[in-house]
């Protein structure tokens, strides 16, 4: 009994279809402010000096409280080139309310009276409202900023308003499956300064390359390559062509089953490493080290995080 010939595999057709780009159905890019997200994750971990203890308690599905203690030296500004530090201790109380995915309320207050607050609210399916504020007892030192983010089919646009007559707008859009182009414009009314910036981002499954330039003189290039499932290598080039400051950084991000190790070295003679290890469910151990050989400033920190 003759059987019919099985149909040809669809993989070839799918592969052929993949090569043709549908320019009218492009993906939505990531937000403009997160353009260098992968590089920031590897090259700018949350380094600290001294002892840090974080305790998070979930009261229910949406509401949680946070207690943080940080004890260690704090750098004070000085006229000389030498680094001057004084021992300090901070206690920070925080609360977080997350009504996923529409509403996020986040607040932190320190013992010296400084308050940080953040709000994120989805006004509609495509429009998001964000606000953040830093309030302090010192006069004229408080700041606030509000954002309106609009997400289109293949673009994102954002408007910003801040105190001090600060205005900003940004736009980013996909032009191919892997390439996004963006721009921003800003106005600081208090200083009567305006600026414009351009950005580009090219990302594949294994690598991300980004570039950004602004009329303030800032040039920022970054490249992140995923070497394997566990290892990512990152590099960044930052310069200001008005003040002639140049910095090149190289870093790695090593993710293992129980821990994550990140490190970097840059052209200013600064070497840093950051280790997060999960000792148990809800218990994390943190080691932080930063050696600035040029300034002779060496920082070492350790911490514990309790609760997820």
């Amino acid at each position: 009994m003759a059987t019919p010939i099985p149909p040809p595999p669809a993989a070839a057709a799918a592969a052929a279809a993949d090569t043709k780009v549908d320019y009218l159905n492009l993906p939505c890019p990531i937000p403009f402010e997160e353009l260098h997200r992968e590089a920031m994750m590897s090259l700018k971990p949350d380094l600290f000096e001294g002892m840090r203890f974080d305790f998070t308690k979930m009261l229910n599905q949406k509401f949680s409280l946070n207690h943080s203690v940080l004890m260690g030296p704090t750098e004070v500004p000085s006229q000389s080139t030498e680094t001057i530090k004084i021992p300090t201790a901070h206690y920070e109380f925080g609360s977080t309310f997350i009504d996923h995915p529409r509403l996020l309320l986040w607040g932190r207050i320190l013992t010296d009276g400084r308050l940080n607050a953040r709000v994120k609210c989805d006004l509609s399916e495509n429009l998001t409202f964000k606000a953040n504020a830093q309030l302090t007892n010192e006069p004229h030192m408080s700041h606030a900023m509000i954002n309106f983010d609009y997400k289109g089919k293949d673009y994102r646009t954002q408007f910003q308003l801040g105190n001090g007559a600060l205005l900003g707008a940004s736009y980013i859009q996909s032009v191919t499956q892997h390439l996004s182009l963006g721009g921003e414009v800003f106005w600081a009314g208090q200083h009567r300064k305006s600026g414009i910036g351009y950005a580009a981002r090219y990302n594949t499954d294994k690598s991300v390359a980004t570039g950004q330039v602004a009329s303030t003189g800032m040039v920022l290039l970054s490249y992140v390559q995923k070497v394997s499932e566990k290892v990512s290598l990152a590099s960044e080039f930052m310069c200001n062509y008005l003040s002639r400051d140049v910095t090149a950084s190289f870093g790695y991000d090593y993710i293992l089953r129980q821990c994550r190790l990140r490190g970097k070295i840059d052209s200013n003679g600064c070497v840093a490493a950051f280790l997060e290890e999960r000792l148990n469910m809800g218990l994390n151990f943190i080691l932080s080290a930063e050696l600035d050989h040029r300034k002779k400033d060496y920082k070492f920190g350790f911490g514990l995080t309790v609760g997820e």
Partner: protein
């Protein structure tokens, strides 16, 4: 010493220039996918002629 504030008229002129450049750049980005789509479609048509 404090930095002198730029003249108000000059600052506003610069702001308008930056806003115009930003708007032009947004228009260019917006048009690019349609141009690429047109070019790819045209190329396909040429293939059909073969």
């Amino acid at each position: 010493m404090f930095m002198r504030k730029p003249d108000k008229a000059a600052a506003q002129k610069q702001l308008k220039s930056h806003a115009a450049m930003f708007g032009a750049w947004v228009v260019v980005i917006r048009v690019t996918p349609y141009v690429l789509h047109f070019l790819s479609t045209k190329k396909e048509e040429l293939k059909l002629d073969l």
